[in-house]
Point group: C2
Chain length 199, copies 2
Amino acid sequence: MNQYAKPLNKLISELSKLPGIGGKTAQRLAFHILSMDRKGADALADSIRDARDKMKYCSVCGNLTDEDPCGMCRDPKRRDDVICVVESPRDVAAMERIKEFKGRYHVLHGAISPMEGIGPDDINLKSLIIRLQNEDIKEVIIATNPTIEGEATAMYIAKLIKPSGIKVTRIAHGVPVGGDLDFADEITLLKAMEGRREL
Amino acid sequence: MNQYAKPLNKLISELSKLPGIGGKTAQRLAFHILSMDRKGADALADSIRDARDKMKYCSVCGNLTDEDPCGMCRDPKRRDDVICVVESPRDVAAMERIKEFKGRYHVLHGAISPMEGIGPDDINLKSLIIRLQNEDIKEVIIATNPTIEGEATAMYIAKLIKPSGIKVTRIAHGVPVGGDLDFADEITLLKAMEGRREL
């Protein structure tokens, strides 16, 4: 990588630190950046600094936001009595894309994983319990990932909340729409059978 | 893309302007940037601005550089009597990786392409002719790409230089090392046959 002049090498090395960006891609991106007009390059650099400076976590739900509380927590059009619990801000975005859920969110920033030494205190869980005590919540929908960690977290939260009488639900597992039964792994198929509904 | 707060949306949209970076990848990169410490994000933003500000073209060979003339034009250990003509700074880097060529370079910044309206005056060719008049050059190696445009450019340059008595050579075309004859296209195979050498 030392064939180029210092500023270009530096740019290539910074770009290749990004996930999924290898040496060749970093080079291609760097040359593209050099070919951009000054305004374009500045806009990119500014957006990086800006996002890093302005984005923070909402003190209510834990989602990424530039205002506190975040837009979704402040939105008067959303239902106050349902909270959807997810692992990450990207999951909030995924949920929002289906344009169906109109309640509030709670972002855990991770999942319980004894293997990696991540316990209930290491994720954004305490604030969820405080919300449940202070707000008038009727249902908690647990939408953690369908992984071992996500399942364990769902179980843990369900156990924790149930005594309070609040309804706790888990999103359905099953065969993805448009998928092929043949390609579904056994556990997914098992869950799909377990979760079958009368037509 | 409007599920996120403004600075994050802006970052995602700026990133997805880069070549080969789609919406999903831009999101993944943006979240990674948010998870970086401030120093890391600043280093990335600075490297973009720096590269854009400091990199320029060498007034001698046309290669990208932060000093003028560039390191390779100033290097006293390189031969002065051979010039390798390439289309782009990336081709210089590719050549340098083989660690074989120890002469000078000349970067055309493109190739002649009548289809796209790019003529001899639109590439960095005039300065090559001036170099050939002023410097004591014995050989010009034309290493433009093995494309129609690259070939046309090679032919044009060869015709232009030959009357001066300077040796003009073209890099060999043939079957790539490690490749499979079966996968080679017909023109490559034809060139490989034409360029055969006695063992």
